[in-house]
C-alpha cells in the first residue's frame, strides 16, 4: 500500500535490544507487541545476538518468565532478523543487509554490550526505530560520532502506546510496573514513585497512534524524546 502524502508511514520493523525486551517479558504485558503486529503491521524483531542474550539472561535471572519469552518467539510476536523476515517486510538484498548489520554490530560491540550493539546496528542499517532501555549505551555511541537511528523507544513507550490506542488500560500498566518493581528492574524516573497513570504528565510518549488523543507531556523532556506516529491498518 502506498501511503498518502503527509500521512504517517508505519515502520515495517522495530528492532529491540535485550534490556528493553527483558522489561517487556518481566512485565508480562505483551499486548502492545501483539497489536503492533496485528493492527499496525509493525513487527518487533531482534538480532540473533539479542535472542541468544535474552534466552540466557531470562533463564539465569528470571526462569519463571521463560514461558512468556518462549511464547513471544513461538507466536512470532517477536521475530528473529533473518532473510525470510526481511524479505517478508519488503527488504531487498536481505543477505547483504544482514552482512552489513553483522559488520556494524561487531564494531559497536567493542564499546557497548553485545545485545545493544547488534540492535543499534540493525536499527541503523534497516532505518527503523530501536527499542532500547540503555540510554548509557546510546550516549556512548553518540560520543563516538556514530549516528543512531531515531526514535529510540523504551519499554514504557510500548505500554503507554497500548493505553493510548485503547488496547490496554491503566490497570494493566500498574500490573506491569508492579512486576518490574518486584524483579528489581529499572523504572523510568517519572514512574519510579507513582503509578504510570499518575506520572504520565512527566512522560513524553515516543510511539503514538496518529488517530488517538495524545497522552503525557506535549513537549520533549529529554535529549532522545523524538516522536513517531503510526496508524492502524486493520480498518
Amino acid at each position: 500500500m502506498t501511503p498518502s502524502p503527509g500521512l504517517p508511514q508505519n515502520p515495517a520493523l522495530i528492532v529491540a535490544d535485550t534490556s528493553a525486551l527483558i522489561q517487556i517479558v518481566v512485565s508480562e504485558e505483551v499486548t502492545p507487541l501483539r497489536i503492533l503486529k496485528q493492527d499496525y503491521s509493525i513487527q518487533l524483531a531482534v538480532h540473533e545476538a539479542v535472542e541468544t542474550e535474552i534466552n540466557w539472561r531470562v533463564q539465569k535471572k528470571f526462569p519463571e518468565k521463560r514461558t512468556t519469552l518462549n511464547k513471544l518467539f513461538s507466536t512470532n510476536t517477536v521475530g528473529v532478523l533473518d532473510k525470510a523476515l526481511l524479505s517478508q517486510h519488503g527488504y531487498k538484498s536481505a543477505p547483504a543487509l544482514l552482512e552489513q548489520i553483522d559488520v556494524l554490530g561487531e564494531r559497536f560491540s567493542l564499546r557497548i554490550g553485545r545485545g545493544e550493539a547488534y540492535a543499534h546496528a540493525a536499527g541503523n542499517i534497516l532505518g527503523v526505530p530501536t527499542l532500547s532501555q540503555d540510554l548509557a549505551a546510546i550516549w556512548e555511541l553518540i560520543n563516538d560520532g556514530v549516528a543512531v537511528q531515531r526514535p529510540i523507544l523504551r519499554a514504557f513507550d510500548l505500554l503507554v502506546f497500548g493505553v493510548q490506542a485503547a488496547k490496554i488500560d491503566w490497570d494493566a500498566c500498574a500490573k506491569a510496573r508492579k512486576q518490574l518493581l518486584k524483579a528489581k528492574e529499572g523504572i523510568l524516573q517519572c514512574f519510579r514513585n507513582c503509578s504510570v497513570e499518575d506520572g504520565i504528565a512527566h512522560f513524553y510518549l515516543r510511539l503514538c497512534d496518529a488517530d488517538a488523543p495524545l497522552l503525557g507531556a506535549s513537549q520533549p523532556l529529554e535529549p532522545f524524546d523524538d516522536r513517531i506516529f503510526v496508524r492502524s491498518v486493520s480498518g
Partner: protein
C-alpha cells in the same frame, strides 16, 4: 556437527561452554548439533577461546571444510592429559575468554602492549641452544633482568615482577584452583596476535612460592610457547625435561642471582657459615622467594655447602617471617589487610564467577576497564561484560569509582 567435534576434542563440558559464551544450554546444543548454524556474532569469541581460526569456524558453521580430526585446536591436545581435571581445562577456557576481552579493551584504548615480543625474541636469539639447560636459563635470566632494568641496584625483584610483566604486556594471573596444576603458561587473545599468559595457582600456596612459579612460567613463555601452545607444571612431580630445567634456572637466576645474595649478606651482616632462623627469615623476606629456593640459590652460588643446605633447610623461620613481612600472611589474611587500604581492589571485588568456576581478575585490567568507562570509551554494560559480571554486580562493586558516564534510565 563440526563444533560438537571440536568441543568434544577439548574435553570441555558443553554446559560450561554454554555458560562461558552466555548462551542457554539448549540453544548451544542446537549450534553443536547443527540444528542451527553457528551465528557469526559469536565466532570471534569462540575462535579466541578455543584457539581455532575464524575461517575454520565459519566453515564449521556452513558444514564445509576440513575433516573433524584436523580441527582439534593444538592447545587442547595437552589439556586432555589425564592428570588434568575438568577445573584445569575450564580455568584455561575462562582465562582465554579474558584474553578475548583484553584484546577488545586494547583496541578501544588504542594501545596494544606487545613489548614482550622483541624482548622474548632477543633473549631467545642470544641463548646458545647447545649449552646445558641450566646455563641457557641463567643466561636468559641475566638478559631478562638487564633488558627490563630489573637488575638496577642488585635487589631482589619479587615485588616488581608482576608490574614488570604487565608493562611488557604479559597477562599474569594468580587464582585459587583446586588442582594438581601449580602453574602454566599459554597464549590468549586472537589466533593471529596471541599474548602470553602466565598462571600461578594460589590454592594452598604462598606468595614466595608463587613468585618462583610465575618466573618459571615466564621462562616457558619465552622459550616454549611458540612450539608447545601450553606448558603445564604440576605440584606433584618435578620434571627433568630440558625445558623445565631451563625454566627453573631462569626463575632462580631472575629472582635470586648471586649478586643479590652477596648484597644481602653485606647489608644485613649475614655469615653464611652460621645462618640462624632469624637470618633465614631476613633472606626469605627480602629475596621474596621461599626458603628452599633462596638456599638452593646460595648453594649454586657456592656460598653454602651441601651440608649447610640441608641444615638450613630444616630451620623453621615461619614466625620470624610473619613479623618481618605481610607477604608471609596467608592469602586470606593478606587480602584482608590490603582491603583496608584498597577497598575496591580486594580479591572479592575482582572475583568473577562463571558457572562453577571463579577467576580473580588482574587489578590492572579492572582499573583499565573502569578508566575506559570513565573516559567514555565504553558503556557501563560493556564494562560489566569485560569484567564478566552482570551489570548490577558491577555497579554494586565499582559504582563509587564510576563518574561522568550517564546512568541508564
Amino acid at each position: 556437527m563440526i563444533l560438537k567435534n571440536i568441543i568434544e576434542s577439548t574435553k570441555l563440558d558443553p554446559e560450561f561452554c554454554a555458560d562461558l559464551l552466555g548462551v542457554a544450554p539448549d540453544q548451544f546444543e542446537e549450534w553443536l548439533t547443527g540444528v542451527r548454524p553457528l551465528p557469526r556474532f559469536v565466532i570471534p569469541e569462540i575462535s579466541s577461546i578455543l584457539g581455532i581460526t575464524e575461517k575454520t569456524l565459519l566453515q564449521a558453521s556452513t558444514g564445509a571444510g576440513e575433516s573433524y580430526a584436523t580441527l582439534a585446536p593444538a592447545i587442547w591436545y595437552k589439556l586432555r592429559d589425564s592428570k588434568l581435571v575438568q577445573a584445569d581445562r575450564e580455568m584455561v577456557a575462562l582465562v582465554r575468554k579474558l584474553g578475548y576481552y583484553m584484546d577488545q579493551l586494547a583496541a578501544v584504548r588504542g594501545e596494544k602492549l606487545r613489548r614482550f615480543e622483541p624482548l622474548f625474541r632477543s633473549i631467545r636469539d642470544r641463548v646458545d641452544r647447545t649449552a646445558p639447560p641450566a646455563l641457557q636459563g641463567k643466561g636468559a635470566a641475566r638478559d631478562f633482568r638487564s633488558m627490563t632494568d630489573l637488575e638496577h641496584g642488585q635487589v631482589a625483584i619479587g615485588e616488581w615482577i608482576r608490574r614488570a610483566l604487565r608493562t611488557l604486556g604479559v597477562l599474569t594471573l594468580e587464582s585459587p584452583l583446586k588442582s594438581a596444576v601449580e602453574g602454566c603458561a599459554f597464549s590468549v587473545g586472537s589466533v593471529s596476535g596471541p599474548t602470553p599468559c602466565v598462571f600461578a595457582n594460589s590454592y594452598k600456596s604462598t606468595w614466595f612460592r608463587r613468585n618462583a612459579v610465575i618466573m618459571h612460567e615466564v621462562g616457558h613463555a619465552i622459550f616454549d610457547l611458540e612450539s608447545e601452545q601450553i606448558s603445564i607444571d604440576y605440584t606433584t612431580d618435578a620434571s627433568d625435561e630440558l625445558k623445565d630445567q631451563r625454566a627453573q634456572a631462569f626463575a632462580q637466576e631472575c629472582l635470586v642471582p648471586k649478586s643479590v645474595l652477596v648484597q644481602f649478606a653485606n647489608r644485613f651482616g649475614l655469615k653464611w657459615g652460621s645462618i640462624s632462623a632469624a637470618n633465614l627469615a631476613t633472606l626469605v623476606g627480602y629475596s621474596h622467594v621461599e626458603q628452599r629456593l633462596v638456599l638452593r640459590a646460595a648453594y649454586d652460588s657456592e656460598l653454602i655447602s651441601a651440608e649447610q643446605l640441608e641444615a638450613y633447610g630444616a630451620l623453621d623461620c615461619a614466625s620470624e617471617l610473619r613479623e618481618l613481612t605481610t607477604h608471609a600472611l596467608s592469602t586470606r589474611e593478606y587480602l584482608r589487610k590490603q582491603a583496608v587500604e584498597m577497598p575496591k581492589w580486594i580479591a572479592e571485588n575482582r572475583n568473577t564467577d562463571l558457572g562453577r568456576r571463579s577467576l580473580r581478575l588482574p587489578s590492572l585490567y579492572v582499573g583499565q576497564v573502569i578508566e575506559a568507562l570513565n573516559g567514555q570509551q565504553i558503556s557501563e554494560s560493556k564494562a560489566a561484560e569485560m569484567l564478566m559480571m552482570d551489570r548490577e554486580t558491577f555497579v554494586t562493586r565499582f559504582g563509587s569509582l564510576i563518574g561522568g558516564a550517564e546512568k541508564a534510565a
